[in-house]
Amino acid sequence: MRDFNEATRAARERLDGETLSAAESAWLERALRGAAEARPRRRVWVLTGAAAALATVAAVVFFMSRETQTPGGFVVLSGKRACVTALADGVEVLASCALTPRLAVDGAEAELAAGTVLLREQSALRLRRGRATFAVTKRKPGEQPFVVRVSDGAVVVTGTRFTVSQSAEGGAVAVTEGTVELRWADGQVSPVRAGESVVWPRPAAKAEPMPDVTDELETPDAPSPQHGRRTTKAAPPPDANKVLRQLLQLRTQNRTDEALALLREARNNRAYTAVQRERFGFELCNLVTQARGGSEACACWKRHARDFPASARGEQVPEALRKCAK
């Protein structure tokens, strides 16, 4: 039998120590400020007889507030509206945004990841940075295509579902349904079909296959590759979530050695995407730091920094390396 009182005492201590991180605090404050600014001042002199009219107005405001129009023709459909900052010619999603806002623009729906900047540029959109997944309704013949401009060209669409990511170094487009065209800045055109992805800038004159950087730890059901070129997914990707669930189980049972072996194997398994392997490596180093510490942990962090220089862990990896240097 487990001691309930003892366990609740431990849980209370842990819960009492919970604090908001700076990002969470900033996110909350921003959400509250946005709501305060949007809320009209209550009028104490409103007559009771106007209650019905007020209720109608409240209902209209409620439904309208679910779709907030921003400059550039972007309409926020769902997600935390406070996460979406309206720019003069587009929108920016707060880097601290925990949820993915969904926007409507030019007859398409876009899900924008945290930190994404999407701008209006004449009849097209420009993905300045971040990651956006678009679902574009089928265009009629002669109708203007849906265009997303990126650093090295433009993604032209006539009706499909795809994800575009852009950073200072380059970017990628991954297609889930249908086909898009990548029109390079030099005029070349690369069709990208479902299950394929293309990365830019091109290392040589031709578009190259890329590791899938768009799906983080998800393993969507991608269609099988077509035409035998730029194949990105020759076989269904292994389930990264399964590894993480297994890891959680092992750690809960204090089976550290098995957890370390699991993470090592997953990190070295090339069947996972680069992003997934980076995540496994990060978890591995965290666990080594806790379980072993010292030189073994430092060696792990050094290898992680070397293998995954573009780690998305912010300050955590450099911080670990700094501790090692001391």
Partner: protein, 190 residues
């Protein structure tokens, strides 16, 4: 950001110059003082899901924004915030199906790389297990157990907070105790 941990702290409705501050400024002041306390209340119901607790915290302060005048007139905003936080958490828990919530937690826990995930791993296993055991109870029983065991509320206080009678609290607790015992937990009837 000024913070005060005294739960019964009264927030003055006057600014430093002696002038009345408007409702928005007052809400902001309340937020600055109590955001973490409200977040902690939500975390007691969250079973480790920080994003969910954050969402609840936001809802609580949005409600305060709507009810600012009433709450301000009444004083002691933390008591109101606590009650609303409990209500918001219970309401959100009811909305989610048990399966959906469980799946969300399965995804949320391993996916999180925030310090909280690491803290959870390091924290005592018993604390995690008991939180999970309480999270597995029906919402009403769960609310009673959270308030009485994770927040040290008396039976009277719990009844007041949940808007039910002490007898109902007692019955809900008895059912929860029975369920927990079936899951190998040793706890008193009282």
């Amino acid at each position: 950001m000024m913070r005060n941990n005294a739960a019964d702290l009264r927030i003055d409705s006057m600014d430093e110059g002696g002038g009345a501050i408007d409702a928005k400024a007052w809400v902001h002041e309340v937020y600055c003082r109590y955001d973490e306390q409200v977040f902690r209340v939500c975390m007691r119901f969250a079973n480790g899901d920080r994003a969910w607790a954050l969402d609840c915290t936001q809802d609580v302060f949005l409600r305060l924004l709507v009810k600012a005048d009433t709450v301000r007139a009444r004083g002691e905003p933390m008591a109101w915030l606590y009650r609303v936080a409990v209500n918001v958490c219970c309401m959100k828990l009811r909305r989610r199906s048990v399966a959906g919530r469980f799946l969300a937690l399965l995804q949320a826990r391993p996916a999180a790389t925030s310090p909280s995930a690491e803290t959870q791993f390091r924290a005592e296993r018993a604390a995690t297990e008991v939180e999970q055991a309480i999270a597995g109870l029906p919402v009403n029983q769960r609310a009673v157990m959270v308030l009485m065991h994770l927040d040290n509320k008396t039976q009277t206080e719990t009844a007041e907070l949940l808007g039910i009678s002490q007898g109902q609290v007692s019955k809900l607790r008895a059912k929860a105790v029975q369920t927990l015992r079936q899951h190998d937990w040793d706890l008193d009837d009282a």
